[in-house]
Amino acid sequence: MNKNKEQLLNKRYKAEKRFRLYGQSAIFMALLFLTIFIFKIFSTGYSAFQKTWLIVPVTFDAELMMLEQNPSKEDLKDADYYDIALKSMADLDPNANEDQENELKRMVSYFFEREIKRELLNDPSLIGKTKDVYLTASDDLDQVFKGNYPRDLPEDQRRVTDYQLKIFDQLVELGKVESKFNLSFFTYPDSREAELAGIASSFMGSIFSILVCLMIAFPVAVLAAIYLEEFAPKNRFTDFIEVNINNLAAVPSIVFGLLGLGILLAVFQLPRSTPLVGGITLSLMTLPTIIIACRASLKAVPPSIREAALAMGASKMQTTMHHTVPLSMPGTLSGTIIGLAQALGETAPLILIGMVAFVNTIPGSPLDPAASLPVQIYIWAESAERGFVEKVSACIMVLLGFLIIMNLFAQIIRHKFEKKWS
């Protein structure tokens, strides 16, 4: 009998251990996913912050550029750079035939003409001389240099030809290929060519959308929260508003996209693809988040504060505006930032209102067509070119960086400025 009891007890203890282990492994699994995730993004993305340049000697031949003697600055701007650009690429292999010259030209980006022009405009005395100029390598060669390109594929299955690889390897041996920090990733707008694509346009689109969202959602949400928490009578209508808010917080984001499309674009005729419409759509989504955060922090202000103000003869409105609301601001602000961080990562509603259009200019106002960072991720992820894979990861890194900063900021505001009532 005693032995039986002991067995039973052992069994129960084992069950206890097992259960604990399940819990631990669940946590472990969740954290493992997170780690794999972050690792994967970083390992594919970090290389996008480097860009491969070919160093090509360029002879600034005045005759080829159609320049007269002693050209002015204007003449230099209007000069023809295409021929010298073409010639300097062709000169990499003196024995090249016409097809091969074409292939040589495709080793660099189609910006090569502009890069050469910039060099001369910086230093007009170069005319007639030869200088090594840094030219952006094509995205495929960029990938070759970074070691991401399957060189052993049969030639007809890759976009880089054997001939290009041969010349490229010669250049590498001569030290004429260099990898430098990819500044253009941050300063260029989107492009169809992976080596020239940057996040500047989508970044500005995101900023404008978030600003519009903040300017609409924050005041409306705070005012609504003040009303509901401090003034609203307890009745059916107030309950109805509350049910609405809680429900809106859980409505799928794509439904807000349909709202933007069906009301903002179709009925109010606002311009498509613009951060203005995107921001309004996002603000409707963020509204419940901020209202809930603001109400929670209004609730956390102890009644004694209100009673003290009322006892001093302040009206209800004065009590609320002068005492309760300022004391609740840290909580409200951190809730707002978290809501904005969510809005910043939102993609589906923006796709529906057309912010997925290809935009190769940097938007200057909320009324210009634009993409946003998450939409840029989507656009690039759908592109077939190999060069875009690392761009997507790098864009994700930038986006995650912003989200982390915003969340940290929210934490700091909460911990530093929030009063602890005890």
């Binding site: 969740a30 594919t44 609405n244 809680n246 439904v255 349909l258």
Partner: protein, 461 residues
Amino acid sequence: MNLILFTFIVLLGFTSYYFGRRKAYTIQSTNKRLTALPQFYGYYLAIWCAIPAFIIFSLWAIFEPTIVKLLILSDYSNQGYLDDELNLIYEKTKALSRGQFTGEITPFIEASAEKYLSLRSIAQSSKAVIVLSIIIASVAYAYKKISSNSKTREPVEKFFKAVLFTASLAAILTTVGIVFSLIFQTIDFFKVIPLFDFVFGTHWYPAKAFVRDSSEALDPTMYSDTFGAVPIFAGTFFIAFIAMCVAIPIGLMSGIYLAEYASVKVRQYAKPLIEILAGIPTVVYGFFAALTVGPFLKEIGNSMGLDVSAESALAAGGVMGIMIIPFISSLSDDVITSVPQSLRDGSYAMGATKSETIKKVIFPAALPGIVGSILLGVSRAIGETMIVVMASGLAANLTLNPLESTSTITAQIVVILIGDQAFGDPKTQAAFALGMSLFLVTLCLNIVALRVVKKYREKYE
């Protein structure tokens, strides 16, 4: 022009605030008692200055285009034009007056354009004059009215309260907006496609609707077998099911562990780390699923001799499950921690081990809250868009094989509406009908879940 007028109204508002307050100070200096603080006199005047002006301003903005259009088209009224033609004439007139007109300019339209421009300039200047005179009249009236014993605080506070109330209506307006944006397109859709075909049809092939020439009349029989949503609904619930298979065990167990076992230190670090998973944008999960998980599953499947699609339901559902883990874990963590300690103590006193207490006492007590959190997770899984768009297929297969590709409501909405949409096309309307069904399903789930959680909270508070 509007912007200048707007700024002007705002500036005048500030000035009248200043004047109101100064008048209050003057009254005070004559040793009379004020009934409110001086700034309330300022607010009072500022409100009187700005609000009537803004009302006129916005009414003008709403009615001006209609009136101008009526006036322009009155020239053509007895020439027997149809409504559509008149609209076209008006559009041409507007385009010409903006200098964006391409095409042949007839003298008629040129005349109308000139008339349009002059009408617009008359309208603009009369608007400015009327708004300004309204401001002057109302400010003068209010300025005269305020005296030592006039009430200023009450109306000002009433006004502020009305503003607060209006703001709180935003939530209702958003819901109404959602319903309105969905319902009209949905009704139009069901005029062409019978409801029965939509709910019970098994072929979803909206691309077919594209082939139609827009000049042809709508022929409903063309669309039979095009908009049967069963594969879409099935795919949606199937992917959500896979997601929940991943999210429920992991989320629930980590919630239990964090609430009952974890030391303060582990909890302090593990909880925010898990919640990072909820903060990652879904498009990032989508990229991860499409780039890493999909090919990985395909490779494993191929090595086992299985035919796995690179865009399998399993990849999308599994990654979606990872995304939902933190929702379930933190909600069930909250629910479990709010179970009263007395229940635990009672169970321990009877000799139960910790796991027995959790399984037999705490879990049943927390069950309603946990069910609520799972329902919220399901609602999120059904409404999730980007992961499915990027990682699962876009062709609607009716299948229960997790290794094949399926499509969901959200993915189809995106597929249909990406790029240019033609309103009035059954294909576009189909997206809204799908949106409507998505909204209704998630609405039911949310309301049930929120009610369950609320009931549960009330039980222990």
